[in-house]
């Protein structure tokens, strides 16, 4: 089954990092991606641009309306995602627990249809 791992964290923590710290996190993600590829579970993923670039198309009574900003303004923002294919939730959680660069924040694990 395919799962998406949605990475939520405080964007300001990320943007206030020194470039060395950022490089360390990126190195972590490279290694993580390689490990996923090696385990043949990697199906895709990407970092997202900051939430300030987000646009939402909201629907009301079937009519779309474009507005600036994400779905919801929250303390933690969606910063990136991975799509993996594994046997079950337990294995998906195993990968989520290994997410690099996490100090605070959340990795949401959702099965794909």
């Amino acid at each position: 089954m395919k799962y998406i791992l949605l990475i939520y964290g405080d964007e300001r923590v990320w943007t206030s990092m020194s470039s060395e710290e950022m490089q360390k996190v990126y190195a972590g993600h490279r290694a993580y991606g390689e490990a996923m590829t090696k385990a043949a579970v990697m199906r895709g993923g990407s970092e997202l641009k900051p939430v300030s670039t987000a646009t939402s198309v909201r629907f009301k009574d079937g009519r779309p309306k474009t507005v600036d900003g994400p779905f919801a303004e929250t303390k933690e923002q969606l910063g990136g995602y991975y799509i993996i294919e594994v046997d079950n939730l337990e294995q998906a959680i195993d990968w989520a627990e290994k997410m690099p660069g996490m100090v605070d924040g959340t990795v949401e694990v959702r099965p794909l249809n």
């Binding site: 089954m1 046997d87 079950n88 939730l89 337990e90 959680i93 694990v109 959702r110 099965p111």
Partner: protein, 433 residues
């Protein structure tokens, strides 16, 4: 009717084991339950006609599995592995000779129940879904019984079960025993589910009687199951010991009128001595595994109370030490409150008051009625009646359980009465002094 009672017995003794195997076979709680229901119906019809088989549980297992496999074939929603063709299971003899013992080896069945225990207590499920599912599938309680136990509409319980099963199915929570590195955490999760069930039964927040014996009995049954399935877990034994030792005092805990009787005033001849002995024995087994933990520590405290012939013989110094240890395991303000009271009774009461004042100052237990109640009790023992009266009133303003409320009111009333007597005595004496 007799047959109905026999089927009921089989349901109680074997139904849950069969269900665990069916869930593994079908990979789905609802399919498994449907197959089991159908098997019960067939059992009633067939046993009425042909008599009850020698091994009714085995009969039920074989028939239920056959029903489940037939339905999976018919629905074609699942790829059936080839080994399901095993003749012992669904071959011609399977039904013609229902007296055969099950083809499963017993240890396989136990494994399925262990898997089920871990699935029901999986951290990906909401906490209230965990104990509901455990009571339903492992405890064998009906939705109505669970709803009654937790004092909620049956529809709420039913809805929670539907959501939990849906999450298990759609997110694919595996029907499996956790990996070795996750096992300790998952065992903790299992035990905490059983502990919640027990506590809800023993110190119910809403029950007018304060105790729900059905939940207590279920929790102990499930704890026995956990010990049986996790023989190497010291804490599983610790939890079973804690439940046995605590529940052994049940008969002395309430008066016939439903009044709460505090530990130091209980009639100890009403304590269930056999159960205290069993609890102490289980605790000794747990301690023998040399892996201490919070349940064992609480059980040890309960065992010390159980060993005291009367309240004055309670080994408070030892209990105070154990509460200190418990506080290190579970640093919650409620444990701290108990540690404070134990320290006071072990050394001097003022030290308890000082500690309670610290907890109070942090404001963590501002809504918890046992904090002012504990303070009132210590003040009463110190003879500071007026302050005790104020504290009892604070506790009464916060309490919600009717039995606890009656207890606090009674304490308050007797204190007001005795201090009024003292005042009268003082008043008559004053002029002569």
């Amino acid at each position: 009717m007799l047959l109905g009672r026999i089927v009921e017995e089989v349901v109680r003794n074997d139904g849950r084991r069969v269900l665990a195997g069916l869930i593994r076979l079908t990979g789905d709680f609802d399919r498994a339950e449907d197959a089991l229901q159908e098997a019960y119906a067939r059992a009633l019809a067939s046993w009425r006609r042909d008599g009850v088989p020698e091994h009714p549980g085995a009969w039920l297992n074989t028939v239920a599995r056959r029903i489940a496999i037939d339905r999976m074939r018919r629905d074609r929603t699942v790829d059936l592995p080839d080994d399901l063709e095993a003749p012992a299971l669904i071959g011609a003899e399977g039904l013609d000779n229902p007296y055969d013992p099950p083809d499963d080896d017993p240890s396989g069945i136990e494994d399925d129940r262990l898997r089920l225990l871990f699935v029901c207590c999986h951290p990906a499920l909401a906490p209230d879904a965990r104990w509901t599912l455990a009571l339903r599938t492992l405890g064998g309680l009906t939705t109505r019984e669970i709803a009654r136990a937790f004092v909620e509409p049956e529809a709420t319980t039913a809805q929670r079960l539907v959501r939990a099963k849906k999450k298990i199915r759609e997110a694919r929570i595996p029907f499996d025993v956790p990996s070795r590195e996750k096992l300790p955490d998952r065992i903790d999760a299992v035990l905490s589910v059983l502990y919640v069930i027990f506590n809800e039964g023993y110190a119910s927040t809403d029950a007018p009687s304060l105790v729900r014996p059905d939940l207590v009995r279920e929790a102990i049954r499930l704890a026995r199951l956990a010990v049986e399935l996790l023989p190497a877990s010291a804490e599983a034994r610790g939890l079973l010991a804690l439940m046995l030792l605590t529940d052994a005092r049940r008969a002395a805990r309430l008066t016939s009128g439903g009044e709460l009787v505090p530990l130091d005033e209980q009639d100890r001849s009403l304590w269930d001595r056999a159960q205290i002995e069993e609890g102490t024995r289980v605790l000794d087994e747990a301690l023998g595994l040399a892996a201490p933990g919070p349940y064992q520590t609480q059980a040890a405290i309960a065992a010390l109370h159980g060993a005291a012939a009367d309240a004055t013989e309670t080994d408070w110094p030892q209990i105070a030490v154990l509460y200190r240890a418990l506080l290190a395991w579970t640093p919650t303000p409620i444990v701290e409150l108990n540690a404070a009271v134990a320290l006071g009774l072990a050394t001097n009461l003022q030290s308890a008051l000082d500690w309670i004042a610290q907890i109070e100052a942090r404001g963590e237990l501002a809504r918890y009625h046992w904090l002012p109640a504990a303070k009132a009790d210590v003040l009463r023992r110190l003879g500071r009646d007026q302050e005790a009266i104020v504290a009892y009133r604070e506790a009464l303003a916060l309490v919600s359980n009717p039995a606890e409320q009656r207890y606090l009111q009674k304490r308050l009333a007797s204190l007001i009465e005795s201090s009024a007597v003292n005042r009268d005595v003082g008043a008559t004496l004053t002029p002569t002094v």
